[in-house]
């Protein structure tokens, strides 16, 4: 069986406490980097590991860190993206609720590497238990000398603060998150400048996902070669996969990057309920284009999924069985993006409103002959024409549903009813 590293402690009753984390070798990575490595060496180690960000975009973490200007008289900030609003995704919540010290150690090592003294963890406000557990863990870490002035007797000063979100999916977009942290409505900023140069309070800022930061201590203690030895060369490492929907064993699975989607769904998550078949799988949260059953041999890594027109995204795998109407699924996805559009740009704000109306009409059996072309046109008008990736995510999801399940849309229009009701 694949060794669980990131989830090693999460099923322990006291996995959230410092004594559990320390008993399993916790904070040894932080002590090691402070004792043996310069910040540049830590950045180089993470580069060597080829860790790619686990928040969705898959950008190389070490490279992102190296963009922070070394010669800057401004304070540097580390921000942890714990907003986790992508439907189908719950991996970061489990880490924060059940092994929060893993994240805190990742923050401290990363803060040391980039030269930050302050980190903000931006957590969605719904995650009350995660917020309480992380608050408790931060207090424990301060008392034990892992945070604060002179961490573990070194000259490294570092502290972590929690910033609670208040219900807006767009905060997962990194520049919108910075706006929200600065006390504004969460609307994305124009890039460049990128956050590494001018981020929080116009200072150099690195923004990493919870899972990305949780990988960092393990890379320090086990080495870059260990990390790079798991999964494909270009997307290595252990990976957390969230599986939900119409499947026997929904849950969080730690497996190598690159595992076949079919193996994940049918073997690890137990496949569908008796008498049903997999119809489709959304592999990376609802932003990731749906894959029909015939495509399930694809490897679950950044490059393999991109090659088949989808994406790893947040690795929020949603399984849809053959009793379910794909028009209904597509409608619900577009409704979500419409609801969460921040309103900054017209194609997203207005285009998604229009698409939702057409989709609801089709699902209700009131679709008309030109509706599918209308939806195609709307996708073309939204994709690539919005400020951030929210509009792109909606358009890609709808395009994939229209491409792979067009017959179901046509059946709704021709039969003037939903065939699944």
């Amino acid at each position: 069986m694949f060794e669980r590293v990131l989830l090693k402690n999460v099923d322990l009753p006291d996995g959230h406490l410092l004594r559990t984390y320390a008993a399993g070798g916790g904070y040894e990575a932080l002590a090691k980097v402070l004792r043996e490595h310069t910040p540049d060496e830590v950045v180089e180690l993470v580069k060597q590991s080829n860790l790619r960000g686990r928040g969705g975009a898959g950008f190389p973490t070490g490279m992102k860190w190296s963009f922070v200007p070394k010669q800057s008289d401004k304070l540097k900030y580390l921000c942890c993206n714990a907003d986790e609003g992508e439907p189908g995704t719950f991996k970061d919540r489990i880490i924060m609720e059940r092994d929060p010290h893993q994240l805190i150690e990742g923050l401290a090592v990363s803060g040391y590497a980039i030269g930050a003294e302050t980190a903000y963890v931006y957590i969605r406000g719904e995650y009350v238990t995660a917020i309480r557990r992380l608050e408790q863990a931060i207090a424990e870490a301060r008392d034990a000398g892992y945070l604060g002035r002179g961490v573990l007797g070194s000259d490294f000063n570092f502290d972590v603060h929690i910033h609670c979100g208040a219900g807006a999916y767009i905060c997962g977009e990194e520049t919108a998150m910075l706006e929200s942290l600065e006390g504004r409505r969460a609307q994305p900023r124009l890039k460049p400048p990128f956050p590494a140069v001018a981020g929080l309070y116009a200072s150099p800022t690195v923004i990493n996902n919870v899972e990305t930061l949780a990988c960092v201590p393990h890379i320090v203690t086990r080495g870059a070669d260990w990390f790079r030895g798991i999964g494909p060369d270009k997307s290595p490492g252990p990976k957390l996969y969230c599986v939900s929907g119409q499947v026997r064993r929904p849950g969080l699975y730690e497996l190598p990057m690159g595992i076949a989607l079919r193996e994940l769904v049918e073997e690890h998550a137990g496949g569908t309920l008796p008498g049903r078949k997999v119809k489709a799988v959304i592999p990376g949260g609802v932003s990731a284009p749906v894959i029909p059953e015939v495509g399930l041999e694809v490897g679950m890594d950044f490059d393999s999924l991109a090659a088949v027109g989808s994406m790893l995204g947040s690795a929020g795998v949603i399984v849809v069985d053959d009793t379910t109407c794909m028009v209904k699924v597509a409608t619900r996805i577009v409704e979500f993006f419409h609801h969460e559009s921040c309103g900054k740009c017209t194609p997203c704000r207005e285009g998604l409103n229009w698409a939702v109306k057409v989709l609801r009409r089709i699902e209700a059996g009131e679709g008309t002959a030109g509706d599918l072309e209308q939806l195609d046109m709307l996708c073309n008008g939204i994709f690539g024409n919005t400020f951030c990736a929210l509009g792109d995510g909606a358009a890609m999801g709808l395009r994939a549903a229209l491409k792979h399940f067009r017959d179901e849309f046509v059946a709704h229009i021709e039969e003037r009813r939903c065939p699944f009701h």
Binding site: T89, C164, V286
Partner: protein, 171 residues
């Protein structure tokens, strides 16, 4: 600590007091239950920031309530994973059992019913958040029992029902 002291403690974490508006609103909402205009102005005054900045945030983020909500705010997730696991039927049950529609509050002020976007607990879909707690793996029987528990709690006859314990992470 008073609300003002709580807000000052949070504001000390940031180099800009504007950053403390969201945390201050969360503190104020816990204190008052919801955020009517005078409360927004009180938050602005404590932080010494423009009132419009506070209004802008209170009306953008969905967890802030400028109108009162019931003692138990039932927030049923009906996003894709929960929808696939039967959230629609649960909404129908709640509407019938409470005699209200989405966004409404029962005349006795006990329950407000809402649907929400993903709660990030899809492994225990369908899920509902009530106050600080998540209740997962719901079906009509569990909802019925929960409503009974909440009513007993309001009458002072029971403690808060235990939240759903998430299943172990997959092997």
């Amino acid at each position: 600590m008073t609300m003002r002291e709580d807000i000052e403690a949070v504001a000390a974490r940031y180099p800009s007091r504007r950053s403390a508006i969201m945390p201050a609103l969360l503190i104020a909402q816990r204190e008052y239950g919801h955020l009517p205009g005078p409360v927004l102005e009180e938050v602005a005054d404590i932080l010494g920031v423009e009132r419009i900045w506070v209004y802008e945030l209170a009306t953008f983020y969905t967890l802030f309530h400028t109108e009162p909500v019931g003692l138990f705010h039932l927030q049923l997730c009906d996003n894709v994973s929960c929808m696939l696991c039967g959230a629609e039927a649960l909404l129908e049950y709640l509407e019938a059992a409470l005699g209200i529609g989405k966004g409404e509050t029962t005349p006795d002020g006990l329950f407000t019913l809402d649907t929400v976007e993903c709660l990030g607990a899809c492994e225990m879909a369908p899920v509902m958040q009530v106050g600080d707690d998540y209740h997962g793996n719901l079906d009509v029987a569990r909802l019925k029992a929960l409503l009974k528990d909440f009513r007993a709690m309001a009458a002072g006859q029971a403690a808060n029902p235990a939240p759903a314990s998430a299943r172990p992470a997959g092997e």
